[in-house]
């Protein structure tokens, strides 16, 4: 029996005659480091976890366009402006890769966007902080994208095939994002005393929120253990956070900037940098919606969606008329652009 649509999700547990055998096959595939593909049987909870994580990830990419787009019109040179536009466009692209990957699990684009707009699905709380100066564009590239890369590189080996493939593509592109941010801060750091101070101020404000991007400490992380068993996640939050701190300290030294943590020092015994306590109260408050920009980000997203409605509608109307005129068929996508 062949089934239409390569992406069509496989039935849920209720539809299957012998769940036990399917579950054993799934567990064996995960244990053998094989990838799970869209139409394979998978536990409902695995599917739900992936939808939640991938949706949140996709939402973060498109909400993340806002704080940086804030500076496009005020970029200090054409070079910086072109770079920033390319970066913001990449973030849109990353969102689209991830939405497509999430849709292979049986959810729809409209459903995902509705859940973002109504606050039922979240995005990374880092984007609820404001970009107050031009140096923030550099700090976001270096620290926020740097933390994202540290989180995302292991996701390239995630057990769910479409998610892993999307992450491979994203990680390749993120590297440019981080380097442009670092270069921007370097230019400011070597500039006038005012420029140096502006760079330092941006790093001071973005450092701690960047460390929070790795999520709560391991002993308080609700989903970690199960995600590790399913190989959606490969390293714990604290492990990745430590890796990021170790990477950043020498990079900050090369920038001639300091990290705002008096407890930051090399621990010979552990072979890692020790760092001070993170203010998890702030993290929880921002997560709850009480960050500086939560309201602004969602309002702007909803407005962009509503104001784009006429574009979507006219494109659909054009497509319908064009299709019926060319071949009389009402089926979408038969205008023959796929010739080799």
């Amino acid at each position: 029996m062949a089934t239409a649509a390569a992406h069509q999700a496989y039935g849920t547990t209720e539809d299957t005659a012998d769940t036990g055998a399917y579950e054993r096959a799934f567990d064996a595939a995960v244990a053998a480091d094989e990838r799970i593909e869209p139409r394979d049987w998978m536990p409902d909870a695995y599917r739900a976890t992936l939808v939640r994580q991938m949706a949140q990830h996709a939402h973060s990419e498109i909400i993340g366009m806002q704080p940086e787009a804030n500076w496009i019109t005020r970029a200090p040179s054409l070079r910086r402006k072109a770079i920033l536009m390319a970066k913001v466009q990449d973030e849109a692209g990353h969102g689209l890769y991830l939405y497509s990957a999430a849709e292979t699990l049986g959810t729809s684009r409209d459903e995902l966007l509705d859940k973002l707009h109504s606050g039922r699905q979240k995005y990374s709380s880092i984007f609820n902080y404001p970009t107050l100066t031009w140096a923030d564009v550099g700090a976001i590239g270096w620290l926020v994208d740097g933390a994202a890369i540290t989180n995302q590189v292991p996701l390239c080996r995630c057990s769910y095939g479409p998610y892993a493939r999307a992450m491979v593509r994203i990680c390749k592109e993120e590297s440019f994002h981080q380097r442009q941010g670092y270069e921007l801060l370097l230019a400011l750091g070597r500039g006038t005393p005012e420029q140096h101070a502006m760079a330092q101020d941006a790093v001071n404000r973005w450092w701690w929120p960047s460390l929070m991007m790795f999520g709560p400490p391991d002993d308080e992380s609700a989903h970690s253990a199960q995600s590790m068993t399913w190989k959606i996640k490969r390293h714990s939050n604290d492990e990745l956070r430590q890796r990021f701190v170790d990477i950043c300290v020498p990079q900050a030294e090369s920038l001639g900037l300091t990290l705002p943590d008096p407890d930051l020092r090399w621990n010979e015994e552990r072979g890692h940098y020790d760092f001070g306590p993170i203010d998890w109260t702030e993290f929880k408050e921002v997560l709850k919606g009480n960050g500086p920009c939560n309201e602004q980000r969602l309002t702007q997203r909803r407005r962009a969606h509503e104001e784009g409605a006429w574009v979507r509608e006219s494109a659909a109307a054009y497509a319908a008329r064009h299709t019926s005129r060319t071949d009389g068929a009402s089926k979408p996508g038969e205008t023959g652009a796929t010739r080799a």
Binding site: E37, E306, A315, P332, G333, T338
Partner: protein, 95 residues
């Protein structure tokens, strides 16, 4: 909130001449022309391709993962289709 249910398209990209098109991902678009343009913007921002195909996802017929074993089984017991099946005396060249 207004949504428009644009169909899903699968995107295949030829990375350079001499290679076949490879599946890159999927996207939504109202028609084939827009699907091609969106695919260009989404999957070839860094010169990843010299040619793109877009195919409506609904037009793809896929084998079922459920019967993967019986479906592919006929190939499993025919080792003589592989060159390594054959024993050739040592020293025989170009074979």
């Amino acid at each position: 909130m207004t949504n428009t249910d644009w169909p899903l398209w699968e995107v295949f990209v030829r990375s350079r001449r001499g290679l076949s098109h490879t599946h890159a991902g999927s996207l939504h678009a109202p028609d084939a022309e827009f699907a091609l343009r969106n695919a260009r913007d989404l999957y070839t921002r860094r010169g990843e391709g010299v040619s793109i195909w877009v195919v409506p996802s609904s037009a793809i017929t896929a084998s079922s993962p459920d019967e993967k074993d019986p479906f592919f089984e006929p190939a499993a017991d025919k080792p003589y289709r592989h060159p390594t099946f054959y024993e050739i005396p040592e020293g025989v060249k170009h074979l």
